[in-house]
Amino acid sequence: MKIKHLFSLLAAVALAGTALAKDIELLNVSYDPTREFYVDYNAAFAAHWKAKTGDNVIIKQSHGGSGKQARSVIDGLRADVVTLALANDVNALHKNGNLVPANWQQRLPHDSAPYTSTIVFLVRKSSPFYGKIKDWPDLAQPGVAVITPNPKTSGGAQWNYLAAWEYGRRTYGSDEKAKEFVTKIYKNVPVLDSGARGATTTFAQRGIGDVFISWENEAFLAVKEFGTEKFEIVVPSVSILAQPSVSIVDRVVKRKGTEAVATAYLEYLYSDEAQDIIGKHYYRPTAEKAKAKYANVFAKLELFTIDDAFGGWAKAAATHFADNGTFDQIYLRH
């Protein structure tokens, strides 16, 4: 009897031991400028998950242009979660291969965007136009060199493009006028990089251009890295509310059996701890507590959403970035 008990006890301990030492690996496929943020967040989540369940989570990160990243996932990269630059790229996962359900955006609060950002200008202080760039029309004046990536390949650049377009439409009154306005800005673009990081490098390290249309968080990072004596962040009067989207990749997590931890990984982004890290990395938090804490970091400006201004991503993408869309027409004109 005793020996039998002992054995079952040993067996139980052994089983518990293996259960305790369970190592889980997640792959988070993200876009360019989130690199530093997710390094911090992953550490926080791993600690949280360890305390809660005793399991070790190792999160691997993959970064690149948002569209390219989505395509890798469609083509078979086994991402447990995607944290991309725009909802349209997550929609693509649904449309091409049904990797996520159609209602993915309703599964998490704030349209599955735990943090937001916006589009601002980073102006080079040594530029002859320093001090003369205050708002969108100043990017259209002749002679200014504007750096922005190619909206066909960069999620961030689509926000840039649409922000400029909406400003033009509001200020000059029609889509036709908005197109003229945006055309003027793009005629001032000497280099079209394919991603946000590449464009930052072109502007900050290679010294090309007078002004860089940038993610707000990228602009903060650039100023932090290169110093306030080199660059200044200029906030336009109106800009777009950029909502980077997150989702689990249902097809992959079901196969790997990581659905619970992947879901928890995304839900934890809304926790106070995560929201604080979000603010620290210059993304705009969505939780009230963190919002209040970082209120003085972020400039107050009028922000419009893609749904209000453009009737959603599908419509915006078809009008502006598809073949023969307005972006193509800009270059065909000259």
Binding site: R71, K152, L192, S194, G207, D328, Y331
Partner: protein, 276 residues
């Protein structure tokens, strides 16, 4: 008996043919056929619309023109480099020899970044050109520079063994028979090197057509100006337009194949024509 006599003298023909066909199918034909199959899902009108838009046509022009110019320049300077490396000995020759291979080994993105750093308006060379209003990086000239860089080893490495085979006696004979230096070079040396020169140039050209990594850094990727075809293809893919991307790839594939075929014919013709 009769089967035996029709066989090649060398053994192993069947086996090696089998391997060749299987290997080429797996490595080359299979991926290429995927391109054609994807394209075959389009109607001709769709196909034509994808491959003939002005933006794409401009990219063909940039790609073919820059590749051709780079190959041409490499054929001239590559010949000199190869000649130098074979015929003369000088200190540091081995280092120079190894340097030639560098564009082969270097990841092209690294080459692109390095070239951009040098030729950019604030770079070592770009800085001196900028006051004269000459800009290399972010212009079609930058595309040409990048393609020249990656194409060089093809010309040099194709020519080297052929120059090694050349007999200096022929040049001596030419000279002793009263030919001028000019005549010796153009009537004796060049004709012998011509087939290899064309082959090397063609390889450099073909390689340039497909180059992506270095050009995206040094060219500004501006539609209608410096955008190359591989970049258009990537752009289409990023828009989830798989069909449009493969349609353009098909055009590139077919046109490159025709060009290479023509060059091969030219090579064959020149070999016959210049036979000594």
């Amino acid at each position: 008996m009769s089967t035996r006599s029709s066989r090649s003298i060398l053994p192993g023909f069947g086996l090696s043919l089998g391997f060749t066909v299987a290997y080429l199918s797996l490595i080359v034909l299979l991926p290429l056929s995927a391109v054609f199959i994807k394209t075959s899902g389009m109607t001709f009108a769709e196909f034509w619309q994808s491959v003939s838009s002005p933006l794409v046509v401009s990219a063909y022009k940039v790609t073919f023109f820059a590749s051709f110019a780079a190959a041409l320049v490499n054929s001239f300077f590559g010949l000199i480099v190869a000649w130098m490396l074979v015929r003369y000995s000088f200190p540091g020759k081995r280092v120079v020899d190894a340097l030639v291979d560098l564009p082969f080994a270097l990841p092209t993105a690294v080459a692109g970044i390095a070239l951009t750093t040098i030729y950019g308006p604030t770079g070592w060379i770009g800085r001196w050109l900028a006051p004269h209003d000459i800009q290399i990086a972010y212009t079609p000239l930058g595309v040409f520079v990048a393609l020249t860089f990656i194409g060089l080893p093809f010309v040099v490495r194709t020519l080297q063994p052929v120059i090694e085979e050349l007999e200096p006696e022929l040049e001596e004979a030419s000279a002793s028979l009263g030919a001028s230096r000019f005549q010796t070079v153009f009537k004796v040396i060049i004709p012998q090197l011509f087939p290899a020169l064309i082959a090397g140039t063609a390889m450099a050209f073909a390689r340039s057509l497909g180059e992506y990594g270095s050009v995206v850094f040094i060219g500004a990727n501006l539609p209608m100006k410096t955008q190359i075809v591989p970049h258009v293809i990537i752009e289409k893919l990023e828009q989830y337009d798989y069909k449009g991307a493969t349609a353009i790839a098909t055009v590139m594939l077919v046109s490159s194949f025709i060009l290479l075929l023509l060059i091969n014919l030219l090579q064959k013709w020149s070999r016959r024509y210049h036979k000594i």
